[in-house]
């Protein structure tokens, strides 16, 4: 348990340090403004130093911690993690197809797919929610809030 927790903390701490170093080099590229004493890179660099200091301190505390921290590991072999990845993939696809296909059609497909991934097998309930929810959301946004969600290929019907 201790080894697993320590490894996770060391990995995230190292990632934060690498991120900090990358930010430092990016900040170095900011153009200088000769009219002011402190340039645009001053504050980000100060923060990078803070981030690196905090990361080192976290890793040191994790190393010293006798009991160790308990983490759920990220393993794609676990069904729970597979669910998360599938939902993320579905969400990204939904974001990509929302504009061309329309929010309503994309939303219907998305809701059906995600409820299925989450283990729901009540087909009637799934169909009903998948069809009704996007239509309700679309018309609430359009008529109550005055915001038109993407109409895509349905724009001739929804106008």
């Amino acid at each position: 348990m201790k080894q697993k927790g320590l490894r996770a903390n060391l990995i995230t701490g190292t990632a934060a340090i690498i991120f900090g170093i990358w930010v430092w080099f990016q900040a170095d590229k900011f153009p200088e403004d000769p009219t002011i004493t402190l340039n645009s890179d001053f504050f980000p660099k100060m923060l990078v130093l803070g981030l690196i200091g905090a990361s080192l301190s976290m890793m040191f505390i994790a190393y010293k911690n006798e009991k160790g921290e308990a983490f759920d590991s990220i393993s794609l072999r676990k069904p729970a993690m597979q669910r998360v990845v599938l939902i993320l993939a579905a969400t990204m696809i939904f974001a990509f197809i929302m504009k061309p296909l329309s929010f309503i059609l994309g939303g219907m497909l998305y809701l059906f797919a995600v409820t299925y991934v989450l283990g729901n097998r009540k087909w009637k309930q799934m169909l009903l929610v998948s069809i009704i929810a996007p239509i309700v959301v679309f018309y609430v946004f359009k008529n109550v809030l005055g915001i038109t969600l993407p109409m895509g290929i349905l724009k001739f019907i929804l106008r």
């Binding site: 002011i36 004493t37 504050f43 980000p44 905090a54 505390i61 998360v84 993320l88 929010f103 989450l118």
Partner: protein, 512 residues
């Protein structure tokens, strides 16, 4: 006072009351759903307010805030699973009451205590925040920088079990806040040619990603079947005898909650446990606590709702949010063209009065919505997560899109959702990121402005008394908050070990 009466006239327009009502109902439903936090609820509902007129949108936002604070107690009493961490203390006596067949008695006491606590908090807010803002008008750049540090220090201190992880999250959030134009010379930073980022990461999509999308992903990982409610809700108002018995506890706890809530970072959970402890200490029958004492429901509920008014004090008078929920309110109000802080009392006094009036009307709405909808909210807890989570995800994406009708905001939401999920997975708190996004620009702008004026001299640490006090207070609060957090963690662990409530929250700082 005259201005406040005028605001009452404006806020009692049917459209505004309806907005507050809808906000309270929405907030209560989301607060009542275990695992869906008040922060997430407010984040999710904020985009719905942007198409509205300022007063309606403000009313709805405050309604959501008040409703979410109350909603957490319902599942705490019925299924021993607090809807919000602030309601964890309520479960300790509320659930045993429900088991004894007194769920209606516990719920009605929770409602009346919540409403009373909210009124107390709002009254103190109306009285105190103008006084603090008058004092804050003397602040210059150095003082505002010190204030931002003070706000950040406390937030970091209550960031879960690891201070260093809280610090890392805060520095990460502060770095995110440097994306966009430089506050002094306007030069672009870290935008990599994407002009959408020139004004910084869009606030609402970022917070929806961090607090809603990440929660859905975490929820998808551990699908728990909805619990069946066995308790019977047979009354909506407490008996006169119960109310008279609990009245002193309610007043005392409301005041405790308000003053604890006014400390930036000290949220409803701390207030609820402090008030619970005080109620037990001063009770003639302390042995009843933990076994279904009605004061054990009244005290935490009055305290965590008193916190709502308290948390608004630093927000309105100093522009510093009291907790994650008020940080979202601050962002939402800013996007509506209002900049909370001392200058708001000079430049937008009618809006300040509107906020006061809307909070008071909001308290009445909590009572009406709570009384009428108690039985409905009790059923909401049983909604199947397999249907709920995809609907929340759709609302999150649509909410982000509707801000600017820009699909890039949807991508940003998904990215921050993944970041938030990974942060949660590795026990990094999310609240410091949110608060750093708000306090970061304030800190940088004022520090650099001061250093430009003083030619790079850092002497404000000891030459300006307000700065010295604020910075020393930051150090002191850090130490005190750490000690308090440890105490609460011990109490929670003890209560959980004794099986007095189910804890769905691993990092309570992020689940307010």
């Amino acid at each position: 006072m005259e201005g406040l009466f005028q605001s009452f006239a404006a806020v009692t327009q049917p459209g505004v009351i309806l907005s507050i009502f809808i906000g309270v109902a929405g907030g209560t439903v989301l607060g009542a759903l275990p695992g869906l936090t008040a922060t997430m609820g407010v984040a999710l509902l904020v985009p719905f307010t942007f198409g509205m007129e300022l007063i309606n949108s403000m009313g709805m936002l405050l309604g959501i805030f008040l409703g979410a604070m109350y909603g957490g107690s319902i599942p705490a009493i019925l299924i021993r699973t607090p809807g919000t961490p602030a309601a964890a203390a309520t479960a300790m006596d509320g659930y045993p009451m429900g088991q004894r067949g007194e769920a209606g008695r516990a719920l009605s006491m929770s409602l009346i205590s919540s409403v009373s606590g909210s009124f107390i908090g709002v009254a103190v807010m109306i009285f105190l925040s103008p006084q603090i803002s008058k004092f804050a008008l003397k602040f210059s750049s150095a003082e505002f920088f010190s204030l931002a540090v003070f706000g950040l220090s406390i937030i970091i201190a209550i960031s879960g079990n690891s201070i260093s992880k809280g610090l890392m999250a805060a520095f990460f959030g502060l770095l995110l806040s440097t994306i966009g134009s430089d506050p002094i010379n306007g030069l672009p930073r870290f935008i990599f040619g994407r002009m959408e980022l020139y004004e910084g990461p869009p606030f609402i999509p970022t917070l929806i990603g961090l607090f809603a999308v990440s929660e859905v992903l975490a929820g998808a990982e551990k699908i728990i079947s909805a619990k069946k409610i066995n308790a019977k809700v047979d009354r909506i108002l407490p008996a006169r005898k119960d109310f008279i018995k609990c009245f002193p506890t309610i007043v005392k706890s409301g005041l405790i909650g308000c003053f604890i809530g006014a400390i930036p970072g000290a949220g409803g959970d701390i207030a609820a446990f402090v008030a619970y402890g005080e109620a037990k200490r001063s009770s003639k029958t302390p042995e009843d606590f933990g076994h279904g004492a009605i004061e054990g429901v009244a005290a935490p509920e009055a305290a965590n709702n008193g916190c709502a008014g308290g948390a608004m004090i630093p927000l309105l008078s100093l522009g510093v949010p009291g907790d994650a929920v008020t940080a979202i309110l601050l962002g939402a109000l800013t996007m509506q063209g209002l900049q909370p802080g001392p200058l708001m009392y000079l430049e937008h006094l009618p809006d300040v009065h509107n906020i006061f009036a809307a909070m008071i009307i909001g308290c009445f709405c909590v009572f009406i919505v709570g009384a009428l909808g108690m039985k409905v909210f009790a059923r909401v807890i049983s909604i199947d997560k397999k249907l709920l989570l995809p609907c929340i995800m759709i609302l999150s994406l649509v909410g982000s899109y509707s801000m600017r009708n820009n699909i890039v905001d949807v991508y940003i939401t998904i990215i921050f959702g993944i970041i938030g999920y990974l942060f949660q997975k590795y026990h990094y708190p999310l609240s410091p990121i949110l608060l750093a996004l708000i306090l970061g620009p304030m800190a940088e702008r004022n520090l650099r402005r001061y250093l430009v004026i003083s030619s790079g001299n850092f002497d404000f640490f000891y030459t300006r008394p307000i700065c010295t006090v604020l910075l020393l207070a930051a150090v002191a609060s850090l130490i005190i908050s750490v000690l308090n957090q440890r105490k609460i963690a011990r109490n929670l662990a003890k209560a959980e070990a004794e099986g007095r409530y189910n804890n769905e929250f691993e990092n309570d700082d992020d689940t307010q």
